[in-house]
């Protein structure tokens, strides 16, 4: 392949006394996959040169006259960064990155120019694949679950419905294990049950221990108001 480029450069140099500019493509995106309609243009005032994509992934501009050109590579699927290509009267070629929407003198990094007889070679850089379609927001359970409101609701629901079971040691294997330990030591068990009775959570749950009125020793209004036990709400 390289040999062919060299040869074509050499022949181009032989055939035309005028300048030939060969534009090469980067290795990424794979230049062999680009469509045949890919082409490059050199534009300036009253000038427009066009070169189709060759089999060796280059664009050859023949008979380029002196001017300051805007080099664009047009491809159906990939985007490429534009370059500023200055061709001097003596056939000197210089190339820089250029930025659209900025003044022409605002040049970026200089792009190296390879010289081969009457031909000059420069390379462009890829700017990513083109995206043509908008994804339609598909229905997904996760999109609903990601919503913080839903998450908060779920957590609350988990507490409301799950806690009673969690607390019921007969039902929950986690607590069941704990209860087993307690069962071994009657004193510990008694302490545990005492704690459970006093736990405000039980009061909220309401139905934690069968046969016990959880509100017997708990004043919820007072608890919520942050005051002491059975003090009542101050007027």
């Amino acid at each position: 392949m390289d040999l062919r480029i060299l040869l074509s450069l050499a022949f181009a140099a032989l055939s035309a006394a005028q300048l030939t500019i060969t534009v090469g493509l980067p290795a990424k995106p794979n230049p062999f996959l680009l469509g045949p309609s890919t082409h490059a243009t050199l534009s300036s005032l009253h000038k427009r040169l066009e070169a189709p994509l060759t089999t060796v992934n280059t664009f050859n501009f023949h008979n380029v006259t002196a001017d300051s050109y805007l080099l664009d590579v047009h491809c159906a699927t990939e985007a490429f960064h534009p370059l500023r290509v200055d061709v001097g009267e003596n056939g000197e070629v210089k190339a820089w990155e250029t930025y659209r929407g900025n003044e022409w003198a605002n040049k970026g990094e200089e792009v190296p120019v390879k010289s081969e007889g009457g031909a000059r070679g420069i390379s462009v850089k890829g700017a990513g694949s083109k995206i043509f379609f908008v994804e339609r927001p598909a229905f997904s359970v996760f999109s609903i679950l990601k919503n913080p409101m839903i998450l908060m609701g779920l957590v609350t629901m988990g507490i409301v419905f799950g806690m009673p079971y969690l607390m019921d040691n007969r039902m929950n294997p986690l607590v069941y294990g704990l209860a087993n330990i307690v069962a071994v030591d009657p004193e510990l068990r008694a302490e545990f049950e005492e704690r459970q009775k006093e736990s405000p959570m039980n009061a909220i749950m309401g139905n934690a221990q069968a046969g016990q009125n959880p509100l017997g020793n708990f004043d919820m209004a007072a608890y919520l108001a942050g005051s002491g036990k059975k003090e009542g709400v101050k007027r």
């Binding site: 040869l7 074509s8 022949f11 032989l14 055939s15 469509g35 045949p36 309609s37 082409h39 243009t41 534009s43 300036s44 005032l45 009253h46 427009r48 070169a51 189709p52 994509l53 060759t54 089999t55 050859n60 023949h62 008979n63 300051s68 805007l70 664009d72 047009h74 159906a76 699927t77 534009p82 930025y99 659209r100 929407g101 900025n102 003044e103 022409w104 003198a105 083109k130 995206i131 043509f132 379609f133 908008v134 994804e135 339609r136 927001p137 229905f139 309401g206 509100l215 919820m220 209004a221 009542g232 709400v233």
Partner: protein, 993 residues
């Protein structure tokens, strides 16, 4: 920083576009990817890979597209628009036998293309025009070279180009006044054939050259006795074969003169009586037998005669003839080794004969649907393994301008290549056979009793459709539940739909053929009609096309005075008039009189032709364009039976200026809002004047583009802008809508703001027009509801001139054929549409994205963002793939974009025409009035069901909780303030209810 800016803008833009969803492809849009009508001399089968049998079909069409088509499916493999713009025939295309490249030449260029991939191998450009191209099959080396004949200012130049690199091997120049005609090679020589002498008595001059060096060997002239009048009269075939020949028919088409190159004599043969045209078919391979076939078409039919050339004696003898058959008929040559086969496509069969004898080798009777009227064909004849049977494939161009592939007597595929080269398009409603509105109007006009009876019978009549309707209800319900988007309609055939997406687009091609495409049915052809058949070399120039939806007709006027009224429903020509130079029409104007619109044709003198205005008075001012440099407003007045043109105003362009583009307001341009609400709740009133045109005038030498906004009633110049450094050689395009206009061009200039910055690139300028620079102020108009530009205004500022806000952006690509979307009521925001000639795509930019009202050099204030959604001005617009309405499609050679509103407000329909035809639907503000495909009915139903289930499930739980909590409440009551808790309890009871 720059990058981030760019990406920010990119993101901003992409969020603004109504982009295409992948599942909509093929649903909302359609695309006819065409190559154009194949030309007989530049179409052939060729094997793109040396060692594989599969071949592709190559053509260089009459619109200048070089394309490769898969002969199995008819699918496009690759194509290039090799001519700049849409060509009018011409060009040369050859393929060397057994090589993986093809060679094309046109204008000054010679290009070699890889046959399979469509990529370029080399291209060169020379001074002078290419006259002929030939492949040199036999060279001193193993490769094959290319011979190109040029004419350079009266100098005949023949160049032999290196087949692999395109470099010049040798060059032969001859300074003479001869017209270079053709180049040919035989086994031993290269021949240059030119026309020598004067047009009244041309003789053919043959120069033979040495193939290796290009040195002259010999030259001789062959007298034609005045039978040859130009290059088109000489037929030339059999390049590269053992005996290439030159042939020309006598003036009266009675005799055919044949000259074998290399000999110095000619022979003549009698042609059948009533001969209309003669064509010669011969193989072009060195190993092929030197046989050729003469195909003559007479007034009644066509016949073929096969001739053999004796290489030793140079004598031509007639071997046999194929019978005269009715129809045009098509012959084609194919060769396999030394064998030469002639394939004949007749009206009812395809048959193959060997060039040796007249026995038919294979015969495929055509099925009834494959009976096409062949104009020309190329065929591939392959001997099957047994050695007896033949497989024949004929790619035939038919009289109805289709390209069909006939195999085994059947049509494998059809490409409607006649659709290419469209020059005008117009939207039409689908005519309805039974128009309810008409029936109702009829009823309203009769007496009540009759109307009642009529109505009753109509309803009884309608009852017959009831069972059918009832039967569809279950499926409809199921479909409406399961189907995502609203199914427009399942009815096949041409029909209207309730959303107005189904419309007919009428296309006129330059070949004089008219097509109607149904946008509701993937752009399928509804009908096509050859209304103005064009002679070879001439094209139809449509000056005006107007659809009358109430009558269901379309009126067309051509430049030569052609006139036709065609029915939209079936393409039936109601009224037609063929044109002549005497009735030439320079322009047409759409005029409205007595409530209907019609086309007023204007002759060469810019006066109405014929008696178009005989008994009509027209009070409208008509804007006419005189030549290239002046615009006039005229009124036609009927003075004593004579139409007099009264000039009202005139805009004379400056010397050197030429009109580059004219934009007028679209025919349908409703304005939903007369003002624009700003961030501080004040209003800028739009300058809304329906009688304006935008004229862009380019001065190519000074590279200055002047854009004028003219009032067409008074000729008053409302606004003007001058853009320096504009390239007049590149496309300049303008469009106008509502209260804004836009122009796109290539500009290279220095900013005049003192910063001395140079700007270079493709640009788009958008200008908004307001009634006054101040908000909540209508300037001199005050509270006036209407204003007339003819009336004086009692304010010192004089005639109300618009306040122009303008902004320019640099684009990453050129734009042309600017157009604007149209919606029914103009509530949806508009989109600027344009063709991207470099990307071969249709671009849609929302008006918001190119709104000239935006903060420059500062970020927008919170109010501006919130109320107006303004973005800071950034000078570059990067064209994102999501802005392309044609997404991945490769739309080639667009020369016009037409839009029309659908019934639903959100949607506008568009069709781009030229070489390809592309149609789509756009919703500039999103599909706010119909459910789109993203709406999932199943999800909705599932959610509702889940909620119901949840409520049912939770109800007992809530009830038991509540019972507990009422207890809590009662404790409270006892303990604390009773009155408050009473209310709580009351609340609980209410809940209980």
């Amino acid at each position: 920083m720059r990058r981030s800016l760019q990406s920010a803008l990119l993101l901003g833009l992409s969020s603004l576009v109504a982009a295409v969803y992948k599942d909509e492809v093929g649903q909302i849009d359609f695309h006819h990817a065409l190559v154009g009508l194949p030309q007989s001399e530049t179409t052939f089968f060729h094997r793109p890979k040396k060692d594989e049998k599969a071949s592709l079909l190559y053509t260089l069409s009459d619109v200048g597209v070089l394309g490769a088509v898969n002969p199995n499916s008819g699918a496009l493999v690759w194509r290039h628009q090799i001519f700049p713009g849409i060509s009018h025939g011409g060009g040369h295309l050859r393929a060397p036998e057994g090589e993986n490249w093809i060679i094309a030449a046109h204008g000054q260029q010679v290009q070699s293309w890889a046959a399979l991939s469509g990529r370029n191998l080399w291209q060169t450009e020379f001074n002078g025009q290419v006259k002929d191209l030939e492949v040199m099959e036999l060279t001193e080396s193993a490769r094959k070279d290319v011979l190109v004949l040029f004419e350079e200012d009266g100098v005949t130049v023949l160049r032999r180009l290196h087949g692999v690199f395109g470099t010049v091997v040798w060059e032969f120049r001859e300074v003479s006044k001869d017209i270079p005609l053709q180049v040919s090679t035989s086994l031993s020589n290269v021949y240059v054939i030119s026309l020598h002498g004067s047009p009244s008595s041309y003789s053919l001059k043959v120069t033979s050259l040495e193939p290796a060096t290009g040195g002259r060997v010999d030259h001789w002239t062959v007298g034609t006795k005045g039978d040859v009048h130009g290059p088109q009269d000489v037929m030339f075939v059999g390049a590269n074969s053992a005996a290439p020949i030159l042939a020309w028919a006598s003036n009266d088409l009675a005799k055919l003169n044949v000259h074998i190159l290399g000999t110095k004599s000619k022979q003549d043969f009698a042609l059948p009586a009533d001969t209309v045209s003669v064509e010669i078919h011969a193989p072009h391979l060195t190993q092929s037998q030197p046989h050729f076939l003469v195909h003559t078409r007479t007034t009644t039919g066509n016949k073929g005669e096969v001739f053999h050339t004796n290489l030793k004696s140079g004598q031509i003898t007639k071997a046999y003839e194929l019978p005269l058959l009715p129809g045009l008929g098509a012959f084609s040559t194919s060769s396999e080794g030394a064998n030469v086969y002639f394939t004949r496509v007749t009206n009812d069969e395809v048959l193959v004969v060997s060039s040796d004898s007249h026995s038919v080798l294979a015969r495929d009777p055509l099925k009834s649907d494959a009976r096409v009227e062949a104009v020309h064909a190329v065929s591939e004849v392959i001997k099957k393994a047994g050695g007896k049977e033949f497989a024949i494939r004929s790619a035939t161009v038919t009289k109805s301008q289709d390209w069909v592939l006939i195999r085994n007597g059947q049509i494998d595929w059809t490409r409607s290549e006649g659709l290419s080269g469209a020059v005008a398009a117009a939207w039409a409603e689908i005519p309805e056979a039974e128009n309810l509105a008409k029936v109702l109007a009829e009823e309203a006009h009769t007496n009540p009793l009759d109307a009642y009876i009529h109505r009753l019978t109509r309803h009884i009549n309608d009852l017959q459709y009831l069972p059918e309707y009832l039967a569809t209800i279950p499926t409809r319900i199921i479909e409406s539940v399961t189907g995502g988007a609203v199914v427009v309609s399942k009815t096949t055939g041409l029909h209207r739909d309730s959303f107005g997406f189904n419309k007919i687009i009428i296309l006129a091609t330059r070949r004089g053929r008219f097509y109607a495409l149904d946008t509701g049915n993937h752009g399928e052809i509804v009908w096509s009609a050859d209304v103005f058949p064009q002679a070879p070399g001439s094209t139809l120039d449509v000056k005006g096309i107007l659809v009358n939806d109430s009558e269901g007709t379309v009126t067309v006027r051509g430049a030569n005075g052609e006139y036709a009224v065609i029915k939209v429903a079936d393409g039936q020509v109601v009224e037609s008039q063929s044109g002549s130079d005497l009735t030439a029409v320079s322009a047409t104007a759409v005029v409205e009189s007595e409530g209907s619109k019609w086309l007023l044709p204007l002759g060469q003198d810019k006066k109405p032709t014929g008696d178009a205005l005989k008994d009509l008075t027209l009070d409208q001012t008509i804007v006419i364009r005189e030549d290239d440099d002046s615009i006039k407003g005229v009124k036609f007045v009927n003075q004593d039976g004579e139409i007099v043109k009264n000039e009202i105003w005139q805009l004379q362009l400056l010397p050197g200026q030429k009109i580059a583009s004219i934009a007028k307001t679209p025919a349908h341009d409703p304005i939903a809002s007369i003002g624009r609400v700003l961030g501080d709740r004040s209003v800028n009133y739009k300058y809304l004047n329906p009688n304006v045109v935008v004229i862009a005038a380019i001065d190519t030498t000074a590279s200055a583009l002047s854009v004028y906004l003219l009032d067409t009633v008074t000729g008053q110049l409302l606004a003007s802008q001058v853009h320096e450094g504009v390239d007049g050689d590149k496309d300049i395009s303008c469009t106008l809508s509502e209260n804004w206009y836009s122009c796109a061009f290539f500009g290279q200039y220095t900013l005049n703001d003192g910063t001395d910055r140079d700007i270079k690139g493709y640009q788009v300028v958008v200008s908004d027009l307001y009634e006054s620079p101040a908000a909540n102020d209508r300037g001199p108009l005050g509270d006036a509801e209407t204003f007339s530009p003819l009336d004086p205004v009692d304010t010192p500022t004089g005639v109300p001139l618009p306040w122009v806000v303008s902004q320019t952006w640099i684009l990453s690509e050129p734009l042309n054929n600017l157009s604007v979307t149209q919606t029914r009521q103009g509530i949806s925001s508009r989109q600027l549409l344009a063709y991207l000639p470099e990307s071969h795509a249709i671009l849609g930019i929302t008006r918001h994205g190119i709104d000239p009202r935006r903060p420059v050099g500062r970020d927008p204030s919170a109010a501006e963002i919130e109320a107006e959604g303004l973005a800071r001005y950034t000078p570059a617009i990067f064209i994102d793939g999501r802005n392309l309405l044609s997404h991945e499609r490769d739309v080639v050679g667009v020369r016009g974009i037409v839009t029309t509103p659908a019934v639903v407000e959100s949607t506008s329909l568009l069709v781009a025409y030229g070489i390809d035809i592309f149609g789509s639907q756009i919703s500039p503000s999103g599909q706010f009035d119909i459910l789109d495909k993203g709406f999932n009915k199943v999800t909705l139903l599932t959610t509702v069901l889940a909620l119901t289930w949840g409520v049912v499930l939770l109800a007992p739980m809530v009830r038991s909780e509540k019972a507990d909590q009422s207890d809590v409440g009662s404790i409270f009551v006892r303990k604390e303030h009773d009155d408050v808790i009473e209310r709580i309890n009351h609340g609980y009871h209410m809940l209980d209810l």
